[in-house]
């Protein structure tokens, strides 16, 4: 994923709202740095200047000074009221969705993001949007609370299981940006990372036209390889034999898989299909039943492609059926 680190404190802002958020961030940063410097400089100066040497020196009993006390109450209060109003104004803008926004449905689920476009296209972990166009996200969760966070856009919104939440943004530059889940949601929380791909309006139209990854013109195997990442299998299943949240896909086809409870099942096309659509029907021994169901998320041709892809992951020596 691309490196988005920009300034010391903030990543580059690439939405219409980011500039305003950053301006306030910087205002607070500078004002509080000055305040902090004053407090610490005075402290250090007093400590050095009035350091006790030898016997205790006599000190005065003066314990108030009305002018001083009014000053240090009123000045911070004024500063803080400025910050409050400023923050609230931008927050309102973040809450009011422009009328002409494209609406995309976002579903959070352990542990991936699914996006449904009004045109019928759907994707997983990849949100493709046009540049310079407001995009409204209508979000809900299928299980626990997640939170949708795109640092470069300065937006974040919880994704709840019992109601819709809404956020919106307008990207100002094409490119790829990270999308994080920021509400703790279990084992795969830190793998619940997607990306937002901002493209030109032309490209966006073409992409929608092509039905996202329809896989047309690709072999089943190649198409499956693409789905393996775009549908988030990659977050839990490796293709090189290393274990993850789920078992690896390498040399899977043709073996007998041991299930929880001790039974074993031959890994054939039907077993693979069942594992994808109804993963908890039979759970592989040694793994937690955490795989989400892809019922309704994958089309038939996509399931075929994934199965073809898994079948292709055999060692050249072809030790299937060990």
């Amino acid at each position: 994923m691309m490196d988005t680190t920009g300034s010391t404190f903030l990543p580059p802002g690439q939405s219409t709202i980011a500039g305003e958020v950053d301006a306030l961030f910087n205002f607070i940063l500078y004002a509080s740095t000055v305040l902090f410097a004053v407090v610490i400089a005075l402290t250090i100066y007093f400590v050095i200047r009035y350091r006790r040497r030898g016997a205790v020196a006599a000190t005065s009993g003066k314990d108030h000074n009305i002018k001083l006390e009014i000053a240090w109450t009123v000045i911070p209060t004024i500063l803080i009221i400025i910050v409050f109003i400023w923050g609230f104004k931008t927050y309102l803008k973040m809450s009011i969705v422009p009328r002409d926004a494209i609406e995309i449905k976002v579903t959070g689920q352990k542990w991936f993001w699914a996006f449904d476009y009004p045109e019928g296209v759907n994707t997983v972990n990849e949100l493709v949007v046009p540049v310079d166009k407001p995009v409204k996200l209508l979000m809900s969760s299928k299980d626990v609370i997640h939170s949708f966070f795109v640092p470069n856009f300065r937006i974040k919104m919880d994704v709840l299981p019992n109601r819709y939440s809404v956020t919106w943004f307008e990207a100002t530059a094409t490119g790829e940006y990270n999308l994080f889940c920021t509400e703790f949601c279990g084992t795969g929380h830190s793998e619940m990372i997607g990306k937002v791909r901002v493209v030109s309006e032309r490209e966006y139209a073409d992409w929608l036209e092509a039905g996202a990854v329809s896989g047309e013109g690709l072999s089943l195997e190649e198409f499956g390889a693409g789905l393996y990442t775009s549908k988030a299998c990659v977050t839990c299943h490796s293709v090189d034999g290393s274990p993850g949240t789920g078992p690896t896909f390498k040399n899977k086809y043709g073996i007998r898989q041991v299930m929880q409870g001790g039974s074993s099942v031959p890994v054939d096309e039907n077993y693979l299909r069942e594992s994808i659509l109804n993963p908890n029907a039979r759970v592989v021994a040694g793994y937690a039943p955490v795989m989400p169901t892809y019922q309704g998320v994958l089309k038939d041709r996509e399931i075929d492609a994934l199965i073809a892809f898994i079948k292709s992951l055999q060692d050249s020596t072809g030790n299937s059926g060990e």
């Binding site: 404190f9 958020v21 305040l35 402290t43 009035y50 000190t59 939170s147 929380h189 830190s190």
Partner: protein
Amino acid sequence: MNNLPSSSYLNRPQGIKSWLLTLDHKRIGLLYLFSVMTAFALGGVFAMLILLELLSPGREIIDADTYHQFFTLHGAIMIFLFIIPSIPAILGNFVLPLMIGARDVAFPRLNLASWYVYILGSLFALYSIIAGAVDTGWTFYTPYSVETTTSVISMTLGAFILGFSSIFTGLNFIVTIHKLRAPGMSWFKMPLFVWGLYATAIIQVLATPVLGITLLLLIIERVAGIGIFDPAMGGDPVLYQHFFWFYSHPAVYIMILPGMGIISELISVFSHKKIFGYKAIAFSSLGIAFVSFLVWGHHMFVSGQSELAAMIFSFLTFFVGIPSGIKVFNWVTTMYKGSISLEAPMLYALSFLFLFTIGGLTGIFLGALSVDVHLHDTYFIVAHFHYVMMGGTVMAFLGGLHYWWPKIWGRMYSEKWARVAVALIFVGFNVTFFSQFILGSQGMPRRYYNYLDQYQPLHAFSTFGSWILGLGFIVMAIYLIHSLFKGRPGGANPWGALTFEWTTSSPPPHENFAEIPRVEHGPYDFDRVTAKSTLGETI
């Protein structure tokens, strides 16, 4: 050369039973000291393991689920078992009656009961480690906490029970302060630490029951399947968040107010100067306690609450910040034209000033609605509350512990090693947590087991800081334990302070004072009265 008194609360009466059944507030303070410090060590070990795991992306030493359990245990132990009881139950118990010239707290039996309740609650909480440690984070957010297979019940039951311990202590302190002050000690002659404990006790008594009810509802939901918070059963998860923060925001002030009280004592005593703005400091504690009940929604700016609610919570949040700022200005001004000595307790107080000011100022970023949307649930939050809780409360606690150490034990620790420790802790703390401000504002979410490569350098830096910090605490443990046996006697009043606890012998006798002291001057009248240090020299 000072001598230890031949008879003190430490050796009269003797025997393990006399300790476990003691009604003496000083001994109960020590029972708390040992148990709470054990919890602190345990929580610290989890912290070190968490940071070690984060040294680089992917697996270092533990898998994701274990990592989630470790940060939950770290948080729950540090909050419920360590930081909430730390200052009130250890130092408050020990010095509050001494400071107001009383022989004990108002309800000594309730005081002992609070310790047993604390132990019971801790056992439940720790049992959850064996029974499949909780992995929800210390906030137990629903519906995750209803679904997870880990032992949420024993942990929340533990926190529920611990709440009663906290309520008992609070209740006891309120009555003690109202009823048992020495003749002549009017409200405005009370030391500011007592004011801090008083404000804290009010929150403990009023807010803790809400946490109790919330956790109980959570348990009922899990056990009986009654839908309260879980949408699958018709409940509302956001309701849980409201309940939880209704307690847990005021709880932040349960943690910090007594610490502020200690800082007022330390800065005045070690500057040998009358505290600046006594009444402002006292009233700001009460003001904070009151407003703290009205700001809980600032934890929920992105949870979908209404814009109006967000606006009100943001506004009030800024207001709770002003009194804290005023206190900082008062402390700095107290040092002006003082006669400042830099012994270990004062070094902690200065560390507090530095770190707590950063903690407070970074709170402004989070109170500002639009900026909070970006920073919420990132490492910026983690850094912010560590600056407040550890840089604030823990520094104040350590300052207080060093300050009253010679009173508690009659013996001094090694000043030289104490300075080494405070330096290590100060540097280690900043290395560990300042880097996390940058991580967070760069977008690194909290509670992540794995992370993108771009965040690695800062994570590694933070882990490195934790080693310095850990070393500081090990040094401290060694010289403090060493001092119990080898430390030289410090005499009744090693710091030349003016409050009552320094007028009796160190360690104090069984009932604190041979004769109840009378108020002859204010707690900080250094301009009029000079109490000679029983140590002879100053540094």
